[in-house]
């Protein structure tokens, strides 16, 4: 990561901190407009926190971390502060730091900070840095205590995409519209940008920006208590620059793929449209959930070798969990990822690849069967054990596997995870 990118990042962090500070300083003034209400609704600052430590071991292939040897680079710490300023207005922020293999590296950041004003149950506004409402669990994907599995189905919630998919800086409109005997409809509409942390070791581009992201989520709370159905869609574009070695640039100029006076980095654009359909049923001790997603992504650049036509990946999972006793909850899920919905078996080379490239093979898909045992040791401490049987390597990072082709990695492999979390 170059010095410039770090400087930009540092500046953004400072900007975020200053914006957050100014917001919090200004809020009491805003709140005075509702002073009587505030007095009637006085509440203390709520503080909640969590700390997690995990261990990951794979039988073959490095997954998320240097996992073949076994890795403890799997930890998260978060603390948040929220205050209900008036009956309708709330403010909050969360500091978060994590480490997962090459990701995170304990850089502390504002995970979210917001000002929320709920005019009515059916209409509210939030501004700041807020979690992206995408699918059932994207907003809570960092929170181990809020779910049964250690790893949410990685087909729909890949941790490697956390920086792009978790939070946006901008605004959101939300509400819950009653539908009488037909239940109710929760809507979320949002737009803004994503500040991407280029300090992540897996980033292959520099000066990465997200000029826009917008989307919506609709969840229908059906008349059957505990059953909700919904859909989410979001559109974004990621802009980046790839710095090529001088020798390669000279070669491209000679081949006529770059103009003779070309200098500087190659500009890349990744337009993406992500959508997911969701269903969840929660009743008494049972949780059933399933989601089906399609992600359409392309890569545009002035160079043919850095151009990929729009491709649609397919992702889904089925999940169940049952709360057997107050301290024991087993869970099970099956998840599948197909990096190209038109080539589920990997019979063809990757789209846009030069002639002679071998087919993707089992690098085109990943089937994941996971079993979790969650033990709630007390109200503030839990322990999870989880095993995965994996078939295919589509979700793996080449950077973590000596830049080997995904099809040359081991096809059938296993993952074992242990994780403990304390929270309040």
């Amino acid at each position: 990561v170059d010095y410039q990118a770090r400087r930009v990042l540092r500046r953004r962090s400072w900007l975020s901190a200053v914006a957050c500070g100014v917001s919090l300083t200004a809020l009491p003034a805003v709140a005075r407009a509702d002073k009587a209400d505030a007095e009637a609704f006085a509440s203390p600052i709520e503080v909640h926190a969590f700390v997690s430590q995990g261990f990951i071991k794979t039988t073959d292939n490095n997954y998320l971390a240097d996992s073949k040897r076994g890795s403890f680079e799997f930890s998260e710490v978060g603390i948040n502060f929220s205050k209900q300023l008036t009956e309708r207005m709330r403010v909050g922020m969360q500091l978060f730091t994590h480490d997962l293999g090459p990701l995170g590296n304990y850089r502390t950041r504002f995970d979210w900070f917001y000002l929320d004003y709920r005019f009515r149950d059916w209409f509210g506004l939030r501004a700041g840095r807020t979690k992206l409402p995408f699918g059932l669990y994207n907003e809570s994907s960092d929170i181990d205590a809020a779910r049964v599995p250690v790893l949410l189905p990685q087909s729909v919630y890949p941790v490697s995409n956390r920086e792009f998919l978790l939070a946006l800086t901008g605004g959101e409109a939300y509400g819950m519209v009653p539908l009488g005997s037909a239940g109710s409809l929760e809507y979320r509409l949002y737009g803004g940008t994503v500040f991407y942390d280029t300090a992540d070791a897996t980033a292959t581009g520099t000066n990465i920006k997200v000029p826009y992201i917008f989307g919506a989520r609709l969840m229908w709370q059906t008349p059957i208590e505990g059953l909700q159905l919904g859909g989410s869609a979001q559109k974004l574009r990621i802009d980046a620059e790839a710095v090529l070695p001088e020798a390669q640039i000279a070669q491209l100029k000679m081949a006529g793929q770059l103009p003779a006076d070309f200098s500087g980095p190659i500009k890349l654009q990744l337009p993406a449209l992500l959508s997911v359909a969701s269903i969840e049923y929660t009743a008494h001790n049972l949780l059933l959930a399933s989601e089906y997603a399609r992600w359409r992504v392309a890569l545009d650049s002035p160079l043919a070798q850095y151009t990929i036509p729009e491709m649609s990946s397919e992702r889904f999972y089925l999940m169940a969990a049952y709360h057997v006793t107050s301290w024991f909850t087993p869970g099970l899920y099956y998840a599948a990822t197909f990096s190209n919905a038109d080539d589920r078996k990997g019979q063809y080379p990757p789209a846009g690849a030069p002639a002679g490239t071998p087919p993707l093979g089992w690098g085109a898909y990943q089937h994941d069967l996971a079993l979790t045992l969650r033990y709630d040791l007390n109200q503030f401490w839990l322990l999870k054990l989880e095993g995965h049987y994996m078939h295919g390597t589509a979700g793996l990072s080449r950077a973590l596997n000596d830049n080997q082709q995904l099809s040359s990695l081991t096809r059938d492999w296993g993952v074992f995870l242990v994780k403990t979390t304390a929270y309040f």
Partner: protein, 179 residues
């Protein structure tokens, strides 16, 4: 249609036209399903039954739901109570701000209330709130220690709604029925 309680197929026995349904069973969509799909259907139905199993003693709930004495409501529906305790709804029908109050998660009365009214285990409700708290969406109702504290809270706030054990002294608080 067995001899044990719970084995009767009440839908077939009680609904008008049950005979016709029985006679035409060989042409029903169910029988046209492939065995694997039938197995899947029974698995899903079984899971739903498991999830919907009634709580023992549901007919006489071992708790009382309390509201402020000035609250005009004499009863609340389970759906409304669920929406209020999960903060999907923030107001009573008269416009007053609803202020739910819980008891500690390890108490019997909380477990009974959660299973009977919210139709979720306390753990499921806690997971719901963990998701909301750590994603910055909302904060759970306050958790108070014991019946006395809940009664005090309800008497202090006009929009409050809480629950206490059946034998608890409720002072001037108003007990409402659940429908």
């Amino acid at each position: 249609l067995g001899g044990l309680l719970g084995q009767d197929h009440s839908v077939l026995l009680s609904r008008p036209g049950a005979k016709a349904m029985t006679q035409s069973r060989f042409h029903s969509p169910y029988h046209s399903l492939r065995p694997t799909r039938r197995a899947l259907l029974w698995t899903v139905l079984g899971m739903c039954t498991l999830g919907n199993r009634p709580v023992r003693g549901e007919s006489t709930p071992p708790f009382r739901i309390l509201v402020h004495p000035d609250n005009p409501a004499n009863s609340v529906s389970k759906d409304f109570a669920t929406d209020v305790f999960l903060k999907r709804t923030t107001r009573w029908s008269d416009g007053e701000t609803a202020r739910p109050v819980d008891q500690r998660a390890d108490t019997g009365v909380r477990r009974m209330f959660s299973e009977s009214v919210l139709r979720r285990s306390v753990s499921a409700v806690k997971r719901y709130w963990q998701q909301r708290i750590f994603s910055g969406r909302d904060l759970p109702p306050p958790e108070l220690d014991g019946d006395e504290a809940v009664v005090g809270y309800v008497l202090k706030h006009r929009g409050a709604i809480g629950y206490v054990s059946v034998g608890a002294k409720i002072d001037r608080a108003k007990a409402v029925s659940v429908q």
